[in-house]
Amino acid sequence: MTSNLNLWLIPVLPLAGAAINGFLGKKSSRTAVSTIGLFFSGAAFAWALSVVFRVSSDALPYQEYLAHWIRSGSFSADFALYLDQLSLVMLLVVTGVGFLIHIYSVGYMWDDPSYYRFFTYLNLFMFFMLTLILANNYLVMFIGWEGVGLASYLLIGFWFTKDSAASAGKKAFIVNRIGDFGFLIGLFLIIQHFGSLDFTKVFAQVHPMAAENGGAGLLTAIGILLMVGACGKSAQIPLYVWLPDAMEGPTPVSALIHAATMVTAGVYMVSRSHMIFERAPMALTVVAVIGTLTALFAATIGITQTDIKKVLAYSTVSQLGYMFMACGVGAFSAGIFHLMTHAFFKGLLFLAAGSVIHAVGGEQDMRKMGGLRSYIPVTFGTMFIATLAIAGIPPFAGFWSKDEILWQAYQVSKVYWAIGIITAFITSFYMFRLLYMTFFGDYHGVQVDSHGHGSHGHDGHGEPHESPMVMLVPLMILAVLSIFGGFVGWGNRFEHFLGPVFGGGEVAAEAASSITEKVLMGVSVLVAASGWLLAYVLYCARPELPQKIADGLNGFYTAVLNKYYVDELYAKLFVKPLIDGSTTILWQGVDRKVIDDTVNNAADGARHVSDEVRHMQSGNLRSYAGWIAAGSAVVIAYMIWMGVR
């Protein structure tokens, strides 16, 4: 038995930071705000590290009970925390990457008027995310789940005076709500059949159940509903549409929430529920198919985007697809491994993109960049490393995790593997396209636009310039992690580490066919390299070619450029009918005709009746007397009649 780890400190520290900054930040200086923001997120990271060092692996899973929450009949849910190898990995990723991004934000957001608000939200996000990770039952997890949704909404709409940012925030929230609906129904099913939401209690009951091989049953239903929730949070088909729009938020937010941590909550939740999914093959297939399709689909859109953050957004969707593909083929540890490496290199990519945007004065269109390599060498270097990592070039982090997923997928179905490898090619291509468009060639920025004015730009921004050290240091640390982060998977050590959580079955099968694995590894490296080569040819050696190819593929290219018109389709299918229905039936029909009219007519009626009746109050004494006499006459007549009867 390990001594008390005081896990509760980890989520509560950022909450304290959020509270202090939220209540007092408006009047404090920027230095004070950033000190508090950094201190509390850093303290959470430090405490998480100390937990890692103090806990011994045989003491896991460790549970920490905090307080009663709900006691209703036989059902109960407590505020309690749960720590095992899985949550430990997530804990370190979230606090570590989160802390780095906090540091970066100090530089990136320095000039923003609502500086304190940013750090409040960021700390609040950390609190909810850590609650989500450390929950010991689905209900506490759901608090975190909804909370990160709220923080995401607040941060996407951080510049809420901009219409597009405000509506992107709403879109993210509403699309997530659809997923949450599925998640909730799944939870209700779990309560209904297992009478509890505690992970340990539910899984103990699920454990002896047989796999639902014959057809769909209870576990399949729960699994698919949980997957609906994960689709919303982790931006999978068909609910991925909010993530690209979420790029309206500040870039550190995109890095923290929409790349490294929050969007991986779905993967975490599915992995956490692996006991259920493993016994529901059909649900697993759903997960795998959704993941695979999303990976390919989003990657193709990524090719055509010209906004640097949009490319990365679609890339995130695509990489999340990989993670779900891994979960879907039962390789949960591979999924979590990719989640971790992805947090490193995608966080780095976003932060580097932020540094690029910072350098060119807020421009996000890659066509107006180019040649930035010499202006911002550190950013270029780190971004280059991240690109190598995501493209799957060995020995960078992404190679190890992606290769692991592809290998596991190959063992289940070659179709998954084939689509995965195509996606890997596309990934490599669009990432190097981004790199070449941004950093190579000539600078197409402000000088070209303000041709003839003599100086650069109307905004007085001047030459592209390197970011301050406070932004570069996180980049460098993440770059180191992107290089070496993959080695924790060397010799399946990562899988062994997560073994107690997911069961050691898959590890044993590993060693058998290592020749095939080597061949597949070679193929993925080859594919990544050819993607690089193609990008080099098209965007560096012969930059006039892409336009020709695009013209050649006329219709298809336009469709991809417009993201396959999915937003338009959803608008037609769901949004417009909903708005029309709400307007004509609910607003004009129910609200105005029924509710408003009932109230108004009742009031009108009362007024009309009173208008008539008030004439009785004539002020004429004799008419009052008349009324009294008439009334008494009626009463007497009634009494006589009663008496006679």
Binding site: Q617, N620, L621, R622, G626
Partner: protein, 100 residues
Amino acid sequence: MVPLSYYLVLSGFLFACGVAGFLIKRNIITIFMSIELMLNGVNLSFVAFAAHWHSLAGQVFVFFVMVVAAAEAAVGLAIIIAVYRTRETLNVDQVNLLKL
């Protein structure tokens, strides 16, 4: 011995006169007197019944009515004087400020 019904008819007549006077007349003093008439009509029926049933309760009740009537007369006349001082009329149709 005068039968009970005679008294009751007279009592009803007096009361009806009071009601009619109350409704018809405009002079506030007359209306006031009509009220007294109604009270006395009722008093008559009380004592008639008391004599008929050999019960003192009816007579006791009459004393109560007379006491209340005396008090009412004092208050009522005071009000009438106050009204006359401000409105300079005794016509109740002109004392009609208390209306919407």
